[in-house]
Symmetry: C2
Subunit: 199 residues, 2 copies
């Protein structure tokens, strides 16, 4: 059975990739992005440095794959109960809890550093995480638009950015608290708009 080695080698490769990704996430949580090295990841994963360089050009690229492994389904789909505000608030509240979790913070912050430093990592993050995530919100807003709950002139993609970016910025810069009250208000204000409405 000449075929037998191939699946074994594939499985071994997958195990190595998995070990490298786990090592990168664990290490960056301990040391921060600055001190993260390919050597360190290799040692922690129990593989040779060359194994890592065979698959990834940089520590930022490893981190991106490690991070996106867990969010394989991209943005997924938002719930649709027929009430846009309810659905947006529910998903955002869950995301607030996730982003406030310290176990999530360290590798995700490190990934942001990698992105700002390296435009290939930011392009990868944009296409693998940011765009699918924004699209999931935009799709839900578009469905509400088709149901007559959202103005036909509104731009669902831009609306998604207006809801998600203030969230991302508060988290990234720790500038203001990331709470359920904040995301609830964000949704209400995006829906209502600033101009007075006739009662």
């Amino acid at each position: 059975m000449a075929n037998k080695t191939a699946p074994d080698a594939t499985r071994r490769s997958q195990r190595s990739r998995q070990a490298i990704c786990e090592a990168a996430l664990a290490l960056v949580g301990e040391t921060g992005y600055d001190k993260l090295t390919i050597e360190g990841i290799a040692a922690r994963a129990g593989v040779g440095k060359q194994t890592i360089y065979r698959w990834w050009p940089s520590k930022g690229a490893v981190l991106l794959d490690a991070f996106t492994e867990g969010v394989q389904d991209g943005g997924g789909t938002l719930p649709d109960t027929g009430d846009l505000a309810t659905d947006l608030k529910a998903v955002l509240r869950a995301t607030v809890d996730e982003f406030n979790d310290p176990a999530f913070q360290a590798p995700y912050r490190a990934l942001y550093v990698a992105m700002v430093n390296d435009s290939e990592v930011s392009a990868g993050f944009t296409s693998k995480v940011l765009e699918p995530g924004t699209r999931a919100y935009a799709d839900r807003i578009r469905a509400a638009q088709e149901a007559g709950e959202v103005d036909p002139d509104a731009d669902p993609e831009l609306a998604a950015e207006m809801i998600l970016s203030p969230f991302a910025q508060r988290w990234l810069l720790r500038s203001r608290p990331l709470t359920h009250a904040f995301t609830d208000r964000l949704v209400d204000q995006a829906l209502a708009g600033l101009r007075p409405r006739r009662a």
Copy 2:
């Protein structure tokens, strides 16, 4: 005149600080944040390493001061022509041009890296740049609220975040183009809101 040395020393200090800040901005544009070192800044500025450490604890802290030196007045004040949309659009268009300028990009991106890495730098940036900037927008929106142009229930601070954060995110992640059309639309949509308005 025993006083005479003091002003000279002060002037010398100011000149050194200035040289250090300029060196940090120039160097980080050439090498990126990762490769920026206190030694490198000292050599470029023609001062000793200890001179830098006397005033700043880290390269991120130098960069923050170097960056905020130029924007001394914080957020300043937005124009008030009596038409909120016109004023917001004008300021945002000018900011688009500034952020698309390559000379501005490199040190500002480096500062972002420093912020994500170092919560003291991000606290400093938040209080010196981000908060005054957001407040300038919020003040203009509040003035419009007092003039009856904005709904009394709207939150001007949150409105400012909803306009500024999508801008910041597109720039930081280079995720989508930063254009006048984008910022114009952002203002219109923040004002109109997503819910249909009766004609």
